[in-house]
Amino acid sequence: MLLAALERGYADPRRLHGPARTAGLLLENAREVCAEALGLRREEVTFTGSGTEAVHRGLLGLRRGRARVGGAVVHSAVEHSAVLHALEWVGGEHPQVGVDAHGRVSPDAVLAAVEESTAVVALQAANHEVGTRQPVAEVTTRLGERADPVPVFVDACAAAGRVPLPEGWAVAAASAHQWGGPAGVGLLLVRRGARWRAPFPVDDRSDPRAVGFEDVPAALAAAAALRAVVAEREQTARRQHALVDRIRAAAAAIPDVDVVGDPDDRLPHLVTFSCLYVQGEALVAELDRRGFGVASGSACTASTLEPSHVLAAMGALTHGNVRVSLTRETTAEQVEAFCAVLPEVVEGLRP
């Protein structure tokens, strides 16, 4: 797929010569395929250079469209750092809404944080570290009922492809590598009627929201991967949900292990737990030595040397943290092998 696209889609779709027109058609086809998989229209899909870029442009563009109202962005305490960094970059006061022990905001608390000067509410579809899904549909419905409806930006980078997108948002962002597509492709999703204004310099592409010469082969590969993932989403989700249940039970059976995130209303493939008295970096290294690649939200594993703001907001233990993300290829045997070694790995690292 990627090779065929590289052969035919190498040209700049903005030009008028034959190869360029072919590339242009391939790009429109990729938008169409992504739109169909996500339940959107083709014009609502724009390819970006990454999920992070889609978050930045999506959130800040929606905020700019509300400049007459104000600049404040109400957001959850567990948003991805891409959202937090974008807000830090624009400056100003942005009310943050706390979460419960599962990492979920209450719609009442979100609504209570909205004021006359609120430009946008930013709420992720599901958390990227603990998998907990947020009540986006209820929040969008209730915000839409206000005399001055406040538009919602949804960071769907962790959720898109895994679970259906929630309803009611104005702008969303997604990331192709999260569903098995190539790195370097994000999706900026702007619903028809949403008041989105480019927050950064514009370009002269056929898609007015796009900037620069699109990577057409990568966009096609991303679209094909999304279509394939969505086609078998229900079976994959059912299987992964059960495998994660198995890991959650195995981790919870070890003394002094805190399994975090909602046990049921969550992304199917993600599980996070923290082991008391264990160093996160040592845990990741030991599991890696035994053939299991895991991530961690512990401070010692972070480039910033700060513990995960998601775990901190939830009141979860931040040290000894492990995040396991299942791929479509992860088998029950691999999960059983992981569950079998976990107790001795954890106990072996305790002082």
């Binding site: 008391l276 008295y277 513990p307 040290h319 002082p351």
Partner: protein
């Protein structure tokens, strides 16, 4: 919440990396009598979240945070009976 003036036991965890302050807390909290108060002085950034999380997991009472004389954060825990 007002914090106690004196601790029954103060753990000096300055300079210790995560999770060592919590390891010391786990090892030594039983040295104070039930109802007694223990203070953990730690500059490790994770301690701010992990002392309260330890209290929740081990059924102990987290009282809050202030600073020691040298400005290093100090976290207060009451041992439950």
């Amino acid at each position: 919440m007002s914090l106690p003036v004196d601790a029954d036991l103060e753990l000096d965890c300055r300079g210790q990396a995560c999770p060592l302050p919590i390891v010391h807390l786990g090892r030594r909290h039983a040295e104070v009598p039930p109802g007694g108060v223990l203070a953990v002085v730690a500059d490790d950034v994770a301690a701010r979240h992990d002392v309260p999380a330890w209290c929740r997991m081990r059924g102990q009472e987290y009282l809050g945070e202030d600073v020691a004389a040298d400005g290093v954060p100090r976290y207060w825990v009451r041992r439950r009976a």
